[in-house]
Symmetry: D2
Subunit: 327 residues, 4 copies
């Protein structure tokens, strides 16, 4: 089979780097180019030294012709780039996730520049939107916190009796490769704090895709990789943990990247992988759903590759089955 | 002034060790003895090597006569020890915190052995129970998660419209000095997980002391020190963040160990100190209260010393004012 | 091609778990069994929860017939097990690494139980012993610190003017999966200390395989994965950094798993991979060689798989080329 | 007794912040001002949030008159500031540590601007230079790595048979409060690497103060606080560990901030304190000396306060005896 020519647009950061890592190991992909503004002219392994020995690619400024483009750009830039691309596009940013342009403007503090294009984007979480992704030319892969929360809430959308509370926790890699005060090692290594009270951008994304109203509160942890969410869901009726688990078992039957447990779960088990591990508990009229993902994989590049596979008629799990490591 | 003769019963663990550290630096205390079963016969600095150069104390098995006893024993043991002690007692365990023996039995899985003695215990969080602590012979200092949650909820007890959700996060030192699977460094360093769904022992303690019904869900983080709680409180009416902040400002006016902020807070700022840093947010009919403490100090030995000071007529902050360090 | 039936004997620890991870992804291996004493009867993913979804293997007590056995047993046990096995054996322990039984007895504090068998073992670091490994029935894969130090010193064996000093640093996973005081998270997370002065077991292993006399001093760091060694080598004559680098370049020309740099290197770049990254510096009559490996892969299971590949006539890099991740 | 009016010049970083912490708790010091360029106009606790509740100081641009100035400025700036100051000065930077201006120029890449002033500076490690510090108007406190190495080597200066190798390891706080690539949490948390081969600035400082020639090689660890050095010292004759220990015991008899051990030591025991913990081993003609300090205290602000105490006729340990904490 001919390999699919793929270009990663914006491959200098953590998620872009993970996209490179995954696509270099993908049996059906030919990674023909990586682009970067500040990185232009540098060898791939100058920016991603872990990847030394795998590729002779050099960052370039111009985007070449390709069958598929995976975009990992700063917020707002994908809106400028997508109109110029011919071919399929998987966008890993937040630019095309919200279909409601008023909400986009409220949460992203700027009007959407491509409202017409927006309509052509399918939302990229395969477990809840597979058939649309298969047919889409454009996919906006789900965000890190959003993916964890949406897959926690979606099976309960008919059972929820009002607003759920989603308490989210993220590792420092979620802030990207650029150093900053909040990710300065002496500070972050012993910090735990909340941020963006009531108004995080993933709030409308979670509600749009899960069908459940939420109060979402993110926190920063000293983890490097990993997003963990705890979702407290008010139920219309009393349900046992077993009943709630059964709802999830049916909702995700056959899903290769969903691993279900009764009780808790742990980000430690999904590091480097495309899995979402979900744990379920319930008592009275409250369900608690725990979700653990690697924010750079199932919450980033891995989900993008999963979407890309669907869009290109490849096996959904292609290039994504390397087992995660312990410890 | 004569110094108060104090004995720390059970000084081999982390909280007992912090009690030693604080009392060695306390201007009004004469630390006359430290006890330990397995440590008996060893020098203090064999178990607490950080304290080398500060004391010639040797762990002893027998408890000597003292003016005050600070107990840092495994759960259940304080019930056996307290009846034998003459003098004031500050217990840092959970043995005497719950006044309702039925709840004690439910959450601690054993009937209380000293129900009569239990009645003589004052609950030890000075900010909400100062006058009783001053007069008490026996004090049960508040637990780590419980202290953070109680001080988050107590000011809102008249304003809360039903059950609050308290999402708690703890560092590994909360599990004590004994190595175990969940605190094995290769595992814990990249773990985040929930535990004890719906039935953690601090649940009834929080409700008893704060007057607010709660769903409490604890989680483990890769922090060493620190408890952070996020409390979601449904309000009887809409309140702004400023209004809620004002409630807290009045509730804790003049409190030396409470530091209030609008917005978030961070465990990083309280490491090694007796402070509780509280952050407040609100929107519509929901308040969110963030609390950060050092679980071994304000959630352990420091709170015990604060209680001891009150019980002995000393300045409440004596021995507790060393400034916390950054980073 | 028929797959090679492989059994991992002792698959409950970290190195055994990594062997499982690597062999499950190996195109030419059929992992037919995993054994374990305490784990017997449990599913693989009860002990290695990261591997859930990859295998239905259940730990068994008995060792079945196989083409190849990979042994990851506590020190001393391989000596009892190997005589009973028919087939090829890769031992990941220290039992068969030292050919000099007197040195074995001195450093391992017990006489060797199988001196005759010992002679049949090839030392398992392919980069310096490839042809013998290819023909061997039995291979003793090099230890973690030893592999880093040996590959740092071996190219300089003719140039060294006397004893080299090797200052080693290891992550906590090197101590294994069993919790202990020195790997207790609250302790280890802010610890740095030396251990086993002058007499670490890897000392004679380094000297035997590198041909350079050493003073080896190990230290513990708060890393989870990774061994880093700094080797200070006295030279017979003045050499520039470029000259020393050239020696290394020639010594390791064509080696897939050796990545050379002028200057420093970093364990961060080799996490989860079979690479050894070597950095070289020199001034006057001193060379400094820096080595970074993942102690569980190039210093453990990965090196074992590399040896297994050679022993079985497979491509040396089979199953070992998944790119390492950042961060 | 009248308190000594002290100003901290440059109090916005980690070492400056530690100076504030220590002097706020110092019984004989009146901290009258803190200065900062970018921080000017901000309250102390905006930059040092841990110190909230301890002081109403506001950062100012101008340096007021004071009895003593403690300087914690970026490299090179103290040379401009000191000439303008009337009063005693403790400089915590490297500007006035090297008496040999040629070496200064070689290692600091710029000629010294105040060679005359330089001669008036005493080198600030009290354990080896107490009498000069007592009489000095100007003191240049020893650097972090340098202090650890000097106190490791100085007792052996007559016994050393040539160049010692000092392998140094530092936590991330040693790089200061300004975020950068090498201290970005996602990177640093799993990194171990060497830097500045052969030419680190502390090399001539170590040699000048210890009287022993050294090859000094620094490394970065994922610790936050702590410097650990391993010094390999060739001896003129064979010495046992006991003999070497005895040399240290005599050299540091009565020193309040030196804690000696046979064998290893650990940075974990000195966090937040002014101690240097030294461990000693020896075999044949080689001694190994391990040193552990808190780089911000004994390797920074604490050492500065210790010098200040001597210069002002105060008890040497004033303000420095708060016991370190575990864990």
């Amino acid at each position: 089979m001919t390999k699919i020519k793929t270009c990663i647009v914006g491959a200098s950061g953590y998620i872009g780097g993970e996209a490179v890592r995954l696509l270099l190991g993908h049996p059906n992909i030919d990674l023909i180019a990586v682009t970067g503004n500040e990185s232009a002219g540098k060898r791939l392994d100058e920016i991603q030294p872990n990847l030394r020995g795998y590729s002779d690619l050099v960052y370039q400024k111009e985007i070449p012709e390709a069958d598929v483009y995976m975009l990992s750009l700063p917020h707002g830039e994908a809106q400028n780039v997508v109109p110029r691309l011919k071919g399929k596009v998987v966008d890993l940013s937040g630019d095309f996730r919200l279909q409601d342009t008023a909400k986009f403007e409220k949460y992203y503090k700027a009007p959407h520049k491509q409202p017409e294009l927006l309509k052509k984007f399918a939302y990229g979480i395969p477990e809840i939107n597979r058939s649309r992704i298969r047919e889409a030319q454009y996919v906006a892969a789900g965000g890190c916190f959003a993916s964890a929360a949406i897959l926690s809430l979606w099976p309960l959308r008919e059972l929820a009796a009002g607003r759920a509370i989603v308490d989210g926790k993220t590792g420092s890699s979620g802030s990207g490769i650029k150093p900053g005060e909040k990710t300065h090692h002496p500070f972050r290594a012993s910090s735990f704090f909340a941020y963006e009270m009531f108004h995080h951008r993933h709030t409308p994304e979670i509600e749009q895709a899960s069908g459940v109203e939420v109060l979402f509160q993110p926190h920063s942890t000293p983890l490097v990789r990993g997003v963990f969410t705890t979702s407290y869901v008010p139920l219309k009726r009393e349900m046992s943990a077993d009943e709630v688990f059964d709802v999830f078992r049916k909702a995700y039957a056959g899903e290769r990247f969903v691993r279900l447990s009764k009780g808790t779960t742990n980000v430690n088990n999904v590091k480097g992988s495309n899995f979402i591990d979900l744990g379920v508990a319930a008592e009275g009229r409250t369900a608690i759903v725990f979700a653990a993902i690697d924010n750079l994989v199932k919450g980033g590049a891995g989900q993008g590759v999963q979407c890309l596979n669907l869009m290109c008629g490849l096996p959904e799990e292609a290039g994504l089955l390397m087992p995660p490591a312990q410890p």
